[in-house]
Every structure is written in C-alpha cells, then in structure tokens.
Amino acid sequence: MTHPDFLWRNPDPRPAYDVVIVGGGGHGLATAYYLAKNHGITNVAVLEKGWLAGGNMARNTTIIRSNYLWDESAAIYEHSLKLWEGLSEELDYDLRFSQRGVLNLAHSPGDVREGRRRVNANRLNGVDAEWLDADEVKKFCPVINVSERARYPVMGATLQRRGGIAKHDHVAWALARKADAYGIDLIQGCEVTGFEITGNRAVAVHTSRGRIAAGKIALASAGHTSVLAAEAGIRLPLQSHPLQALVSELLEPVLDCVVMSNAVHVYVSQAHKGELVMGAGIDSYNSYGQRGAFHVIEAQMAAALELFPIFSRVRVLRTWAGNVDVSPDASPIIGRTPVDGLFVNAGWGTGGFKATPGSGWVYAHTIAHDEPHPLAEPFALERFTTGALIDEHGAAAVAH
C-alpha cells in the first residue's frame, strides 16, 4: 500500500498577502475557503503556530446542532447547520456528518419549562425541534435511565433530529485541501507575535518566520485571541479556560444519538469507531495550559453513570483538554475591531465546532466587504457597551 498524497502544500510565507488569517483551526480554514469560494479572494495566508487544526479543532466532541434560544443565534447556527448538510458533497470528502439527533434532557420543572420554551422559539425560527416526555425519551434512547427514583430524574427532553456529530479531522483536512487548491498558503509553524500598525491601520504581522505584510488581518485564534488582541492594544471581554473531554475504550454500537444534560452536567455520544465521547463544563480558573483537573473528570463520570448505569464498567481510555475563549454571554464576537483592517472572530468558547462553516461564511464576507455580514452584525464587539447581549447561557450551559 502506498502512502496517500499530501492534501496540501507546505509553503514558506511570502512577504505580502491581501488577507492574513491568524490561526489554522476550523474557523481559520473555513474562512480561507469561503474567502476564495464566495469572494474570489485567494491571495491569502493562514498562519498557524503549531500544525493545522491541532488546537480545539482536534480536541472537541463534535456535537452539531442549531437549537439556540435567541433569534440571532438561531439564524447563525441554523445557517451553519444548513451548510453542514451539503458540505461533504461540496468538499468532496466524507465528513462522517451524522444527523442522529441531539437530546437535551430536562430534570426539573424549571428545565421542562425552559426546554418547551426553547422548542417553541426554535420552531418560530424554522429550526426543527420537538419536545419528548420521559417515555418518549426512553423510546428514542433506550439506554438512558429514566427511573423516577434517580437523583435527578429525566422529566423530558428537547430533540433536534437534524443535530448530530461529524469527524473533526476530516472537516479540517477537507477545508484545508480545498483552500490549498485555490492557491491559499497554509503556513504551519508560524506564530504571530505582534502587529505593525500605522495611523490606526494594521498593515503587517510579525511572526516567528519574519514580517508579513497584509491588506487585512483576521484573527481566528480561539483561546489565544486575548493575547493577540493585546498586542494590538485591544482588550476583549474573553476569558480563556481549559475544557476537558474524554473517550472510553471501543464498544459495540450502543448509543445512536447525542445526549446532553445541563443539570446533571455531562454529554455523551458514541463515535463511529465505537468509543464513547464525553465532556462537560470548563475548569473554573483561567488557563492556557490545555489541561484540566481530574476532579472535573470524576464529576462528569458520576453524572454519566447517573444517566447511563449500563456504562458502569466501561473504562476511560484518554482524557485531554483544549483552551476555550469564553465570552460573558456565551455568544461569539465577530466583526471589526477598533483597529482598521484588523478583524476578530472569537468567543465561540465551548461550542464553536458546530459553527465552523457558518462562522467561516460570515467572517469571510465581513473581511471581504469591510462590513459585517447580516448574520454576524448582532455579534459585534459593541454589544457589550450597548447592552444588546445575546445571552445563550441556557442553550449553551453545558457547552456545545
């Protein structure tokens, strides 16, 4: 068997580009792809300090859904979900996108009210949503414990049937291959260390591989956005936290949907290969360490066993953490910055994988036209001053 061809070139940086994207995770790659595809802008470099998609893109648990509460969120996440539905074909790569349904469990009368409200809000926004009572939950997902005697009994759930999972590495590789084919330079091992600003305009980046001039500079650096923005003299309402996840040993197929619970605080799916993939909330403190504490894992395992006693003897194979950029209202920050020619797309925190194509789409538009895409406009930095927050703590609480 021969080794397959490389999917992209590994070029050295050129001295200047029309657009320089800082960060080669999912969002940076999707932005590059849509800059070329939708706007014909191909004189673009994606600068990545490590290797492509080795950050949160490689570490997330790949849950995709669009059942957010507020109109602004429903619009952008649903746009993304619609893109997912055609993406394997468009990128000519099997992304293992599997619309197996996402359950968000309710464990208290308050959860039930909030869940029903969200179902109605979703439907008004054209997002598919159903309310299931406990019996229907049991039918949809037979391995869940819906006993009334559980510490936090399952009282019902929202179901988004079009939600599901995809294979994150395939997504990154497919986007990278297409961006490369358009002539975009994907430059690895190239860390941005500062910006050259003349007047109030960003004109170049300084990197570990020298100065690179840029017509426009677009941050797509997830957990490191604050550090980079500070180099341009900008303070952003972001805090970086570890977010952990884990996989079990490989099992026969046993769980064919995604189950999330804010109250018991865990979410679980079974990957195509057979491992259970689980995660929960962030570690409480600020950190860039890409690792978290074991008691957080322990708590999420306890939660998982509460919901799935059947997994009590399953062994954990691997745990890890990413570095997520959390915003005050659990919504992203997309758009221009106080420095001309410098754009930001950050704050996706614990839930940006699902937004990969949608985020790239609206960010590319924002960069190309120098003004926000209509779907991105409500997510501008100014909302923290005007007070027009998009508070998704309810829909995003356990993350993802």
Binding site: V227, Q239, S240, N286, A293, F294
Partner: protein, 81 residues
C-alpha cells in the same frame, strides 16, 4: 487538582473553593455619572494574561473567606513569596 493555601484554614484541595476571576476590580467611584463604556469595562472586561494572574478565590466549603492568589495561567503554579 490545585492545593490552595487558604489564609485562614491552610492548604486545602481546589474543589473546596470557588473561583472569582481577576482581583482588584473596583466598583465605579461615581456610578451615577459612569458612561456606558465605563460600565462595559467594569462589568465585562477582565484581563486574560498568559502568565501570572492575581485572582480571587472563595473558600466556599470551608471558612467562606474571599482572598487573593497569584497563579500562573500556563503552569498553574501558585506564587509563593
């Protein structure tokens, strides 16, 4: 798990504490005349350094004292003067 030295109780496990974010955030001195930008700064903007960070911790499952700790956000090392 961090081992956090509570000024009142001594070294205790991290999960006895609640995190309080950046230390030294003062309420606006003249709230009635603070601008929207000043409110945004006070309510939403916090430092997010990669390195040493002065932060608040609350010994919620102990003496219930708030105190300030200096901790490194990459190594998680706690400053020991």
């Amino acid at each position: 798990m961090l081992l956090i030295d509570c000024p009142h109780c001594g070294p205790r496990d991290e999960n006895e504490f609640r995190y309080g974010g950046q230390a030294g955030i003062a309420y606006p001195e003249t709230p009635a005349s603070a601008t929207d930008a000043e409110w945004a700064e006070y309510v939403f903007l916090r430092d997010n350094p990669k390195g040493w960070f002065d932060e608040r911790w609350f010994h919620v499952h102990g003496c219930r004292t708030w105190f300030t700790l200096r901790r490194h956000t990459v190594t998680h090392e706690i400053w020991n003067p």
